[in-house]
């Protein structure tokens, strides 16, 4: 062991002679990372991506993204002699003739599902805890772009094998491109080198899938991580945790072991799952034919919401002046998703409009302490889920014996109604939790032990909250809505900004007017006194429990 350390030390010395990196290295070794389970979601995304890159390289060694027609002659008997593209044939070859090929293919696909899911959950975590606030807005935007790229990577990947399911997805995509205004026909002809399906598209999609998209993801992930590293990770409030410090474990050895170990855990679970569970059985779907389709065609989960939007959209299409404007396709497929993503990306600034807050935030919000943000997030998730249910409406209608027409009508209404209800309910729950926090501080925790005092009075013993809970509750930031502007200044001159400022004050009121304030120091002191007094009474009345809680002895 000492020999290893000695050699390592020599190597480090050699490097420092040339790079002068000793002090840099020391700082990185001592870097402190806070701990919380929800911080692992982003890690899962990162590790899945690494697994995707590794397995993807394997797949490229055998996969042949060509749409040239061949007659299958591999070892999967049911498809022997069937005409198919080389792409599909090579995907079958990987699945049935390359030892471990099926495993690699399944890991690749499974990891892709994990990747997008982990990004989505990570994004929600960052949103609901307000981790996107200054100084991390740029990293939030990078994250939103990464989310989009992950979906693009997934979609371009599962479209490659040229099986019946993926081909159907491509046909829909092509239909959407073709229906685009003005340039649709030409866009489609350029991308497909003529009409659908042609023979050029898959090889083109292949370079997008293995070069362009992963290259962009890799670059942005690097920037994302560097920024997390440089700005230091946010932390949840707790005793000793302030906006000015970071409390946690040092990078070396704890985080190297934990994060490194977690990479192996994610990798291991993906591999074991791919051994146990079948995913995307392309051989069961068969090769793509433009005049064949299977009932119940479903995209991978992350495209489901877009498919749902296509299904729920009314059939509005207009023909005039010799042109056709397909709102029924353009709106759900090309406007809705970009608008949602842009709103997501600019959200930090939308919230900033309501606060004028210029300070740095390293302490995370508890979701209840930002009721309107939490409600907006929940409503957006509800909107997304309604769309996703729409994407699976045929499966649901079939399995639960529902009328598909009724279901679509109900979902169309739900798309507008459910998010509003979810918004209101979430906001109310958050405010109630704030009130509960306030009560907890002012009255202590109800122990459920009732005591009858000699005077005949009944008393429930309240236990003061522990330091950790207290610190958590007191971490709630003071917020007040921005004041309405003066219409005129003291000289009676009209304020030219009054209109804009009034809107801004309204926006701010929407966010912050219902806040439940945390107790002031005096209120707290009084409450503390009251709880102690009550406990003393209880101890005096001979309550063993009260004595344990307060550490007092009966007089």
């Amino acid at each position: 062991m000492s020999a290893v350390i000695k050699t390592g030390g020599k190597g480090a010395g050699w490097l420092d002679d040339r790079l002068g990196n000793a002090s840099f290295l020391r700082r990185q070794i001592n870097k402190v990372f806070p701990d919380h389970w929800s911080f692992m979601l982003g890690e899962i995304a990162l590790y899945s991506f690494i697994v995707i890159l590794l397995t993807g390289v394997y797949l490229t060694l055998w996969f042949n993204p060509s749409m040239t027609e061949v007659v299958y002659d591999g070892s999967y008997a049911p498809l022997k002699g069937v005409k198919m593209s080389e792409s599909f044939a090579s995907a079958l070859h990987i699945s049935f003739d390359v030892r471990g090929g099926l495993l690699i293919r399944q890991i690749h696909h499974m990891a892709a599902l994990f990747f997008v899911a982990a990004i989505a959950l990570h994004l929600l975590r960052v949103f609901f805890t307000g981790a996107f606030r200054k100084p991390r807005e740029m990293n939030w935007v990078i994250g939103v772009v990464l989310f989009l790229l992950a979906i693009a990577a997934g979609f371009s990947g599962y479209s490659l094998p040229d099986d019946l399911l993926s081909g159907t997805g491509l046909r829909i995509t092509q239909g959407i491109i073709q229906a685009s205004p003005v340039i649709g026909t030409w866009m489609s002809f350029l991308l497909f080198d003529g009409e659908f399906p042609g023979t050029a598209f898959l090889p083109r999609l292949y370079s997008v899938h293995i070069l362009l998209v992963p290259g962009l993801i890799l670059a942005l992930v690097t920037a994302h991580l560097l920024m997390v590293w440089y700005q230091k990770h946010t932390q949840f409030p707790g005793p000793g945790r302030t906006n000015e410090n970071v409390v946690g474990y040092p990078f070396m050895p704890i985080y190297i072991a934990k994060a490194g170990g977690f990479f192996f855990v994610v990798f291991g679970i993906l591999v074991a799952l791919s051994g146990l569970v079948q995913i995307n059985p392309i051989w069961a779907y068969g090769p793509y034919m433009p005049d064949q389709v299977t009932a119940g065609s479903q995209p991978d989960w992350y495209v489901g919401f877009l498919d749902g939007a296509l299904r729920l959209m009314p059939n509005w299409e207009f023909s005039f002046w010799g042109i056709t404007l397909s709102i029924n396709v353009i709106f759900p497929a090309m406007i809705l998703a970009p608008v949602l993503l842009i709103l997501l990306a600019v959200y930090p600034w939308l919230e900033r409009l309501a606060t004028r807050d210029n300070s740095e935030h390293h302490l995370l919000d508890r979701p209840r302490n930002a009721p309107v943000r939490t409600a907006i997030g929940a409503a957006t998730v509800a909107f997304y889920i309604v769309l996703m249910i729409g994407g699976g409406n045929d499966i649901l209608a079939y399995n639960f014996d529902l009328s598909i027409n009724t279901m679509i009508r109900v979902l169309q209404v739900s798309l507008f109604v459910v998010p509003v209800i979810v918004f209101i309910v979430t906001k109310r729950i958050a405010l109630s939790l704030q009130r509960r926090d306030r009560d907890l501080l002012l009255h202590g925790r109800e122990t459920g032990r009732i005591l009858r005092l000699p005077s005949g009075e009944f008393l429930e013993i309240h236990e003061p909250v522990d330091e950790e809970t207290k610190a958590k509750i007191l971490s709630k930031p003071e917020v007040a809505p921005l004041a309405l502007p003066e219409a005129t200044d003291e000289h009676g001159v009209a304020n030219p900004q009054a209109r804009a400022e009034r809107l801004r004050a309204k926006w701010s009121g929407f966010f912050y007017k219902d806040d439940v304030p945390v107790p002031t120091a005096e209120e707290l002191a009084e409450a503390q006194h009251h709880i102690e007094h009550e406990l003393t009474d209880a101890v005096d009345a001979g309550s063993q429990a009260a004595a344990e809680i307060s550490g007092q002895q009966p007089q």
């Binding site: 959407i176 073709q178 230091k232 000793g240 409406n393």
Partner: protein
């Protein structure tokens, strides 16, 4: 611990002496036997990882690629995939669990505190940066020499254009090919082209289509065209379905006499975004797209009765030739498949 780095900036870092963070000692901190046990557990996990990796190697060599195994619940699965996935996956998992267990039980369990520094540079540093930038700007003469500035900007606008324009030949029209709009508006159907079933490719007679039935069909010359063109483009537009209903049930057709004795031919390609359609409810004559549930009433000119599709399903005029086989009377009279801008 020194906070001063070589460059003179103060970089606050971990202070391992701060004790304000509550720490509850773990059993491994206070009980040497527990620590020893944890050490054994970690070692066991690492040994298991090594053994499982060897097992994966053995599985790779020993199990034939086409061997199957019957699992309870899951049914028949590939034996090699199962063995490799489990042994290799658990091997990797054990490495990870071992490392995490090691960190959680045996490495120091006390949290440490490091100070953050404000992201914003000091006013001085900012002023210095601005001054440096302004000096650079002034030295470049970017502001003072508008001619250089404007010509540079102009060049930068034009220089990338070749990169964009060179994408134009992503589509190279074959010699004599019609325009994209014409291509989208035509199929290989034409007067007298026989209708054949899509699997057996048998020419169809009226009697082959029972009342209430649906037959998927293609033009007789499709294979020739596919061989010649080397792609499936013709199929993506020419696929049709034949349905037969009692003539009294037909409410309307897209053209006078486009059907024969209750046999009607419609495009199989959805007018929404192009999925092939084959879900037919004979009682209502409704055709349902499996992709987005657009529903067309085939007894009523293929009009849309539900769903996101806006246009009716194009009908193919058909007739019977002298040998009694079903043939197309002409090509479709409107473009099939998804809409496009120039469609009108």
């Amino acid at each position: 611990m020194s906070d001063i780095t070589e460059t003179g900036t103060t970089e606050p870092e971990a202070d391992f002496s701060v004790a304000e963070i509550a720490h509850h000692p773990r059993r491994t901190d206070v009980d040497p036997r527990a620590a020893k046990r944890a050490e054994r557990q970690v070692t066991t996990l690492f040994v298991a990882a090594a053994l499982l990796a060897v097992l994966a190697l053995v599985a790779y060599v020993v199990i034939p690629v086409d061997a199957g195994v019957n699992l309870p619940l899951a049914g028949p699965v590939g034996a090699l995939n199962l063995a490799l996935g489990l042994s290799f996956g658990l091997a990797i998992l054990c490495v990870g669990l071992g490392a995490i267990h090691w960190a959680r039980k045996l490495m120091p369990g006390t949290e440490v505190v490091a100070m953050r520094h404000e992201m914003r540079s000091s006013a001085e540093q900012r002023a210095e940066a601005v001054a440096a930038f302004e000096r650079g700007l002034a030295d470049s003469g970017f502001a003072q020499r508008p001619m250089i500035r404007r010509t540079l900007l102009g060049a930068l606008v034009l220089v990338p254009l070749p990169l964009v324009i060179m994408l134009r030949d992503l589509y190279v029209a074959p010699e004599g090919a019609p325009s994209p709009v014409e291509q989208l508006s035509e199929t290989i159907w034409g007067s007298g082209v026989r209708i054949v079933s899509d699997v057996a490719e048998r020419p169809l007679r009226l009697g082959d289509i029972p009342v209430g039935g649906l037959v998927a069909a293609i033009p007789e010359n499709l294979h020739e065209v596919e061989e010649e063109e080397g792609n499936l483009n013709a199929r993506a537009k020419a696929a049709i379905i034949l349905v037969r209903m009692a003539p009294s049930e037909i409410v309307s057709q897209q053209g006078e006499g486009w059907g024969v004795e209750g046999v009607l031919a419609f495009s199989k390609i959805c007018t929404h975004v192009g999925c092939p359609i084959a879900l037919y409810e004979q009682r209502t004559h409704h055709l349902l797209c499996p992709c987005h549930q657009s529903t067309f009433d085939l007894a009523d000119s293929g009009n849309v009765v539900f769903g996101p599709a806006a246009r009716r399903m194009p009908q193919l005029p058909i007739t019977v030739d002298e040998e009694g086989f079903l043939v197309a009377a002409s090509d479709f009279q409107e473009p099939v498949g998804p809409s496009f801008w120039e469609r009108g």
